[in-house]
């Protein structure tokens, strides 16, 4: 039957095994994935929409959770996730190492979160003075709550807003999303020492800010 289909007998075959990808990026937790991350990225890069959908399913909620916890605002977080994943789709061909897809999109989302936090900090109404924090317009704390009814959670949410943009993104990635110092460093493109420094300063600020509450 091979002889009947003359053209298909020709062509080269070869093995070219890639080096092992970083463990953090190939963590496909869900059981229903038919394909590994590299296969999905390579296929999506060539316009396979089903492969890109699988990537969205894998990362959308993780990114949303990260952005929401970092920004404290659901709408801002959704905007960042949409922007990040659409940008990822459009610039997939720029991703040289498909196995690094996870790190790559976390970096894009982190940068966008930092930008949003910086823009907030630049607005005159967004004072970072602890006495003023109850009136933060973008906080998750509902404004109708009276000062008396405030919980430790409300107070913590406000203390988080006193951290610098960089400290906050770094601290959320490590403390809440469970990335190691090394993984945070790779994600943000900074040294592990810088990660340690930021997290240490963030923790000190949180501990001080929470005095009397916990």
């Amino acid at each position: 039957m091979g002889a009947e289909r003359a053209p298909n007998g020709s062509g080269r075959t070869r093995f070219a095994l890639a080096s092992s990808p970083v463990a953090y990026d190939v963590n496909m937790a869900r059981g229903d994935d038919r394909f590994d991350i590299v296969t999905l990225v390579v296929r999506a890069r060539e316009g396979d929409i089903a492969a890109f959908e699988a990537l969205v399913d894998e990362y959308e909620r993780k990114l949303l959770r990260f952005a929401w916890r970092t920004l404290g605002d659901r709408q801002d977080a959704e905007d960042i996730v949409q922007d990040t994943l659409v940008q990822a789709w459009r610039s997939l061909s720029a991703l040289n190492e498909p196995a690094a897809f996870g790190t790559w999109i976390y970096r894009m989302a982190s940068n966008r979160c930092t930008d949003v936090l910086r823009r907030r900090a630049a607005r005159p109404s967004d004072a970072s003075d602890p006495d003023d924090m109850g009136h933060h317009p973008d906080g998750a704390v509902s404004v109708e709550r009276s000062v008396e009814a405030r919980t430790a959670l409300d107070h913590f949410t406000e203390v988080l807003q006193t951290l610098s943009s960089e400290q906050r993104v770094t601290w959320v990635l490590h403390q809440m999303e469970g990335l190691s110092y090394a993984e945070v460093a790779t994600t943000l493109g900074i040294s592990e020492g810088s990660v340690r420094g930021r997290i240490h300063r963030a923790r000190t600020a949180i501990a001080e800010g929470m005095q009397g509450w916990v």
């Binding site: 091979g2 289909r5 003359a6 053209p7 298909n8 007998g9 020709s10 062509g11 080269r12 075959t13 070869r14 093995f15 070219a16 095994l17 890639a18 059981g31 394909f35 590994d36 590299v38 296969t39 390579v42 296929r43 890069r45 060539e46 316009g47 396979d48 929409i49 890109f52 959908e53 969205v56 399913d57 959308e60 909620r61 949303l64 959770r65 929401w68 916890r69 404290g72 959704e78 996730v81 949409q82 994943l85 659409v86 789709w89 459009r90 998750a140 430790a152 959670l153 913590f156 949410t157 988080l160 809440m176 340690r196 240490h200 923790r203 949180i206 501990a207 929470m210 509450w213 916990v214």
Partner: protein, 157 residues
């Protein structure tokens, strides 16, 4: 490390952080709209994507979305047991140009698959799909195995 240890021992603060994390945990049902917005944009992009110029055996040219050509080839590759299609490239060939095609594919292969006979199955599958769906023969089909994956429980039954 000592920094981590000191931090973790504060149970009350740990409790507040856990509460915060729980409060900012998106409900899967609430992300459906976001997912659709993203995929709508992607589908629009795809509709404006590149196209490939091919030709009927009589020399009448036609164009088809490159993504669609790749899907035909990719599906034919995926149909082979133990093979996952990755990259697909199809170059118009023949005389006049576009009456045939040169195909290059990269694949991931399940561990334990005998590659040489499987490569022939892939070639037959791809050549048959191109003939049936586009009416053009493949002059060459190059196959590169770039990864090997372990069989999953569900796959072997």
């Amino acid at each position: 490390m000592s920094d981590d240890a000191a931090w973790e021992t504060d149970d009350h603060l740990r409790g507040v952080i856990d509460e915060y994390m729980g409060a900012f945990e998106p409900d899967p049902a609430e992300t459906v709209g976001l997912r659709e917005r993203i995929l709508d944009i992607v589908r629009e992009d795809l509709a404006r994507g590149p196209s490939t110029r091919l030709s009927t055996p009589r020399g009448n040219p036609f164009t088809i979305a490159t993504a669609a050509v790749r899907t035909i080839v990719r599906d034919a590759v995926d149909a082979v047991d133990g093979i996952r299609g990755r990259s697909v490239s199809l170059t118009p060939a023949g005389e006049p140009e576009g009456t045939a095609a040169e195909v290059e594919v990269t694949v991931a292969m399940r561990a334990g698959i005998a590659f040489a006979p499987t490569a022939e199955v892939i070639r037959e599958s791809v050549a048959a799909a191109l003939t049936e769906q586009l009416g053009i023969p493949a002059t060459t089909i190059d196959i590169t195995v770039e990864d090997v994956y372990e069989a999953e429980e569900t796959e072997d039954g």
